[in-house]
Symmetry: C2
Subunit: 155 residues, 2 copies
Amino acid sequence: MAKPVDPLKFWTEGTPMVPAAPIVNCPIATSLGVLGKKWTLLIIRDISMRKIERFSDLLKSVNGITPRVLSTRLKALESDGYIHRAEVQKTPKVVRWALTEKGWDALPILMSYVAFGSKWHADIVFADGQRRDITDVYPQSNLRNLEVSLDKKAW
Amino acid sequence: MAKPVDPLKFWTEGTPMVPAAPIVNCPIATSLGVLGKKWTLLIIRDISMRKIERFSDLLKSVNGITPRVLSTRLKALESDGYIHRAEVQKTPKVVRWALTEKGWDALPILMSYVAFGSKWHADIVFADGQRRDITDVYPQSNLRNLEVSLDKKAW
DNA sequence: CCGCATCCGGTAAGATACTG
DNA sequence: CAGTATCTTACCGGATGCGG
């Protein structure tokens, strides 16, 4: 039943760009475990970008999430190595959820959504409703090529 | 009930990187409509990277999806402007699903997952099980900085 | 209080069959 | 070929409870 995975190529105007590495399983499908579930990226967003690290604070910052789902996601994220749990204090119990190196490496994924939203949902995202390139949202960083070049002249 | 959206910052070792643009709604949460649902990214992957554009072919290529869900996703993707439907021929009916410009702009999101999977799921993704940087998977493209620089020296 | 666990009803997803 | 129709199952949202 093991279906051979055909290489993932970019296609632009009939021109394929074949991967240079021998891919035997789709890296996208493989990455879409916990990361692909509802709420997960927003939890990582708040831990990484907003420094919100406690259960009750995440409950407030991730708008709409319920304690049940938050608890479930935190456990899954922990067992998959994205975050780790630190009991900072007991009575009253204080738990801190922090990103691991793997968790931090999910930030480019978040940023690709930021870039997409800044272009295609500018009316909702920005006060002035103007489209922005990611480099105009975070100019200090070096996010130059987050926009994958689909210009066929590039290859 | 409208909660004010605090700016999305990068945090590295206590150093925040504040966005230069006035964000009033989270671009990540806003982008996670159809895109955030199960199967959606894999459908876009196959249309964009594998040139699989027909219903029955997608049914085979997106491993595990059912016709009901595929139909639902294609409709949602269409109404949200990511793809469009073209009836190429009737009797026998042939339908082609193609990406719009908006749909093509989702490719950086896919690539960020490719990059993540190439690093953190290399044992599953690659035949030799070796970690790879995205620039080694697609050297011909200019994906240099898909790995968001989290080096604090960068700002 | 904080950090969850439990229970319950609704909705989305899986399995399979079927139609124009 | 390109989807529907139908049924079952898994997951999610909402309220509540409970130990430390």
